[in-house]
Amino acid sequence: MLRLDCLRSTYSELENCLVVTIMGAVAAELHSLGHRPNFFYLQHAMGLASSTGLGLALCLPEQRVIVLDGDGSLLMNLGSLSTMARYRPKKLVHVVFDNESLLSVGGFPTATSTGTDLEGIARAAGVPRVATVRSVESFKAAVTGAAHGHELTTIIAKVEATGPAAYVTDLSLLENRFQFRRHIQSLERQ
C-alpha cells in the first residue's frame, strides 16, 4: 500500500477537516495532491503533530481534526497517545502512516520494523478506537468511518517505505501557518 494512494483516496474527505501533518513524505505528498488552506504541515518538531491536533480539538470541539502522523514521529512522542486518550476529543482522528522507516533521512528502520506494535500501544494507552489497515480500500473505509464517528480514533496504516523525489514544497512555512490560522478564523465567523 502506498501512502500517496491512501491520501488520494481520502483527499475529498479532508476538505471539511482541519488537517495537521508531520514533515517529510506525508507533507510533500499531501501538498502534491493540492494544497488547501485547512492543511497545516508541521515541517519539524517531530512528535508534536498529534499534540497540535489535540490542542485544536480541545479548543474547537465541534470541528473535525485529522492528524496525519508517522511511525518515526509517533515513536518520538509516545506519551502523546496517553494524553490524547486521557482527553479523547470526539472529533479527533489520528492517522499513523507506518512505513517502519525514517524515510526522509535515508530509510533507517524504526522499531516498528522489529515488532513494536503501534496499534497495541495506542489501545493500551486508552485510545477508544484503534485499527490497523493494509489496503487502500480499508484505509478509506477506516478514515471515512472515523471522520463521521464520535470517538477518538487511531488508525495505523501500514505503507511501503517509498516517498516523493523531493520534500521541499513552494509553500513557505510561515505562509502556511498564517493561512491556516486565517482559515480557522473564517470558520468561526460562519
Binding site: L18, V20, F40, L42, Q43, H44, A45, G47, L48, A49, S50, S51, T52, G53, L54, G55, L56, A57, L58, C59, L60, N77, G79, S80, S82, T83, R86, Y87, L173, L174, R177, F180, R181, I184, Q185, E188
Partner: protein, 170 residues
C-alpha cells in the same frame, strides 16, 4: 506544604485576567495549587501532559484555534521542551506564555534540582527567549500581563520564572 496558596492564587488570577483559557501542565511541587485551580475552573481547559514538550504543540493548536494558553512547567520541563520551542514555536512564530518554576536556584535544598537551576537563564538567553521574574506580590499580575502581551505581539515564546521568594513560605 509550604507552597504559597495566596501567591499561587494571585498568579492564577493574573492568568485569568489575560483571558487564558487553556493551561498545559506537568505537576511539580511549586505548581500544585495552580494546577488545582485550573482543574476546578470550568472556564479553563487543563491539559495534563506526559512530557512538557507536548505543551508546545497543544499551545500551538490553541493559538490556531484563537484560544490564549499558558504552559506550567518546572525548569527541567523547559529543558525537555527545547526542540519543540525551537523547531515549532520559533520556526512558525507561535506565541507561548511559559510559566517556569525556577528550581535549583538560591535556597534550593534538593540536590537533584541544582544543575537545572544553573543552566535555566543561560539557556533562555541563548535561545533569545525574553524572560522576567515573578518574585514580588505587587508586580505579579502586571508582569503576567506584560509577558502575555509580548508573546502575542511578537509571536514568540516568552518566559516568566516563578521564584522561591514568591512560591515558597519557609
Amino acid at each position: 506544604m509550604p507552597v504559597s496558596l495566596t501567591h499561587s492564587k494571585l498568579i492564577y488570577d493574573g492568568l485569568k485576567e489575560c483571558d487564558i483559557r487553556l493551561l498545559s501542565a506537568l505537576p511539580e511541587t511549586w505548581l500544585v495549587h495552580l494546577i488545582r485551580f485550573a482543574d476546578e475552573d470550568p472556564e479553563v481547559i487543563l491539559v495534563r501532559l506526559a512530557k512538557e514538550e507536548e505543551g508546545v504543540g497543544v499551545s500551538a493548536g490553541a493559538h490556531f484555534a484563537g484560544v490564549k494558553s499558558a504552559m506550567l512547567m518546572q525548569n527541567h520541563g523547559f529543558l525537555a521542551s527545547i526542540n519543540g520551542i525551537v523547531s515549532f514555536a520559533h520556526l512558525y512564530k507561535i506565541p507561548l506564555l511559559m510559566l517556569i518554576s525556577y528550581r535549583g536556584s538560591f535556597g534550593e535544598r534538593d540536590p537533584w534540582q541544582t544543575q537545572g537551576g544553573n543552566v535555566t537563564e543561560p539557556l533562555l538567553r541563548s535561545l533569545g527567549i525574553p524572560y522576567f521574574f515573578l518574585d514580588a506580590l505587587d508586580t505579579v499580575k502586571k508582569r503576567i500581563r506584560q509577558a502575555q502581551t509580548l508573546a502575542e505581539s511578537s509571536l514568540q515564546p516568552v518566559a516568566l520564572l516563578l521564584t522561591r521568594d514568591l512560591m515558597w513560605e519557609d
